[in-house]
Symmetry: C2
Subunit: 333 residues, 2 copies
């Protein structure tokens, strides 16, 4: 029998699905057989997997026969509907939607932080929201250094976090402006070109958005700190790829800027970019296409003793989604 895994990529035509196909090759993931699934309107299209053209199939209850690992990035409704069929067929599901993230029986995994929690899975492993992943990566080494007490996070989120339609909106709105036309909002609630929108996902209780509450709940679960004080503000900005987050943390014991820097440098998956004298700090345009999350602007708080500011940027299609999903799948090998 051939070695390697029989993989299903669900949502293969989407931005995250496309990146997943690319990264499976780049990382030499042991793929024996690859099947691509998407919604009915993509059926019959092909997607590239290395040099191969894979014909996209429509998902149904029987799609997962013989599949070892199913990587879902088709949205939470699709995950809720079809992941149980995959599990029943004997596949392990790595789900990148929000469907199961807060389900106490489903591990929510950032491999650099809580790989051990993956062992308890019952067929489904969940991948956090993109903003959560980029924000929580530098929080773990700070927690290990000084125990986190409070996190205040303000995000600058790229349009690709809203999928291919988000990217198209920024592109089309900007091109309209370049042609001297009036900008009509395309996908977001308002114009995103030359604007910032402090609204991602639906508004809920207390005035917080779904995106903000994901950040709170998911970070607490990943860090196993159910009472961590988190103050989130999530904002869409006219950037194509890579999210940036301004973070202020308070710790139980003092973590100096030097200690934080050293902790970041030691931490797998982070890269310190913090050389103000040479104008080097994390930015979306340098985070794009990188597997690492970039952390910089590391500063001790000016007014509070045990607090730090820093700035992190990460490619939300890679570490924020596809890469983290594949890293979870690698834990299963």
């Amino acid at each position: 029998m051939a070695s390697g895994q029989r993989i299903a990529v669900v949502g293969a035509t989407g931005a995250v699905g496309q990146t997943t196909l690319k990264l499976l090759k780049q990382r030499n993931f042991p793929v024996r057989d690859l099947r691509a699934f998407a919604s009915a309107r993509s059926t019959g299209k092909t997607v590239k997997f290395g040099d191969d053209d894979i014909t996209v199939e429509t998902l149904d209850a029987n799609s997962f026969k013989g599949i070892d690992i199913a990587l879902f990035s088709a949205g939470s409704e699709q995950s809720r509907q079809f992941a149980p069929f995959a599990v029943k067929a004997g596949a392990v599901v790595v789900d990148k939607s929000s469907a199961f993230r807060m389900n106490p029986e489903v591990p929510l995994i950032v491999p650099e932080i809580n790989a051990a929690a993956a062992r308890s899975h019952r067929g489904i492993l969940s991948c956090p929201n993109c903003t959560t992943i980029v924000t929580v990566m530098p929080l773990k080494p700070i927690h290990d250094a000084g125990r986190l007490r409070r996190v205040i996070a303000t995000s600058f989120q790229a349009v690709s976090g809203a999928g291919v339609n988000g990217v198209a909106a920024l592109r089309e709105e900007t091109l309209a402006w370049a042609r001297g036309e009036k900008i009509e909002p395309r996908h977001f609630q308002h114009q995103i070109a030359f604007n910032v929108i402090p609204h991602i996902d639906k508004f809920g209780e207390g005035g917080y958005t779904g995106e903000e509450m994901k950040l709170v709940g998911e970070m607490r679960k990943i860090l196993a700190l159910p009472d961590l004080a988190v103050s989130p503000t999530t904002v869409r900005v006219p950037v194509f790829t890579a999210h940036s987050i301004a973070v202020n943390v308070e710790t139980e014991t003092k973590v100096t800027a030097a200690a934080a820097r050293a902790a970041f440098e030691r931490f797998q998956g982070l890269r310190v970019v913090d050389d103000p004298a040479h104008n080097q700090y994390p930015m979306p345009i340098i985070a794009e296409g990188q597997d690492h999350c970039l952390v910089g602007r590391i500063r001790e708080d000016l007014g509070v003793a045990n607090a730090l500011n820093f700035w992190v940027a990460g490619d939300q299609l890679r570490k924020g989604a596809a890469l983290n999903g594949i890293q979870i799948a690698e834990l299963l090998l």
Copy 2:
């Protein structure tokens, strides 16, 4: 003798100078005579003041003879060099540069907050940095309601904050992208189109930028709270006009979201835009051209008892600069 003030606008060809000329007319400021000054390379150009074309003059030590009020927005070097001549000639200087802001003998004024402090001037009144003004406006009513203990501010700053060259950079870089060309950074340290840059002004001690330290020092001075804990992160975003700031505040006594909202609504110069159900919240595209600072996303902190989050946006050329300067001049009438 004709009534009204003899006004000098120094830096008349710049973005703030242009807005100053427009607002002097719009607000029916009692102008008897208006003279426009700029650097040597603008000499002989004209600027519009209502229907009049005013010929731009080069500044020298004798420029201020007969001037009542000199509105400076030509940069701190020009202010340092020429404001003393204006004072000597009997004019009152309203300076929009950073030259005198932290000088203890110079009042630093946001009229809605500390108009009374203007009375002690000795010829120069200083106007705060644009980001400071937009951020501090909603802080005053919160301080009055519950006494401020700590402020964490993360800014999303428009390119017009960097003057006409900043605006040109975003425009030209974006047009290059639209033509399918490689984007070359024009004015900022890096590409600003489709990017965010966590670096405004020079880096200083502790890793904070000049812009961040201005926010700290100026807010403390305006609010007369020399020990206020302020944690600043200032970021340039690809927006033409209007700055936005995500603010988290801790207070001595609890200020509920409802109480904050009521305090904002009562405060001159603020407008509450906070109707999530109808996707209404402050954004640069709606703040642009408005005299008010817009405040919304008012939420009680999820993890700390006496803390609030909110989001404020303000036209940095108006309330952030020209308007605030004229309001200071109005205090002198």
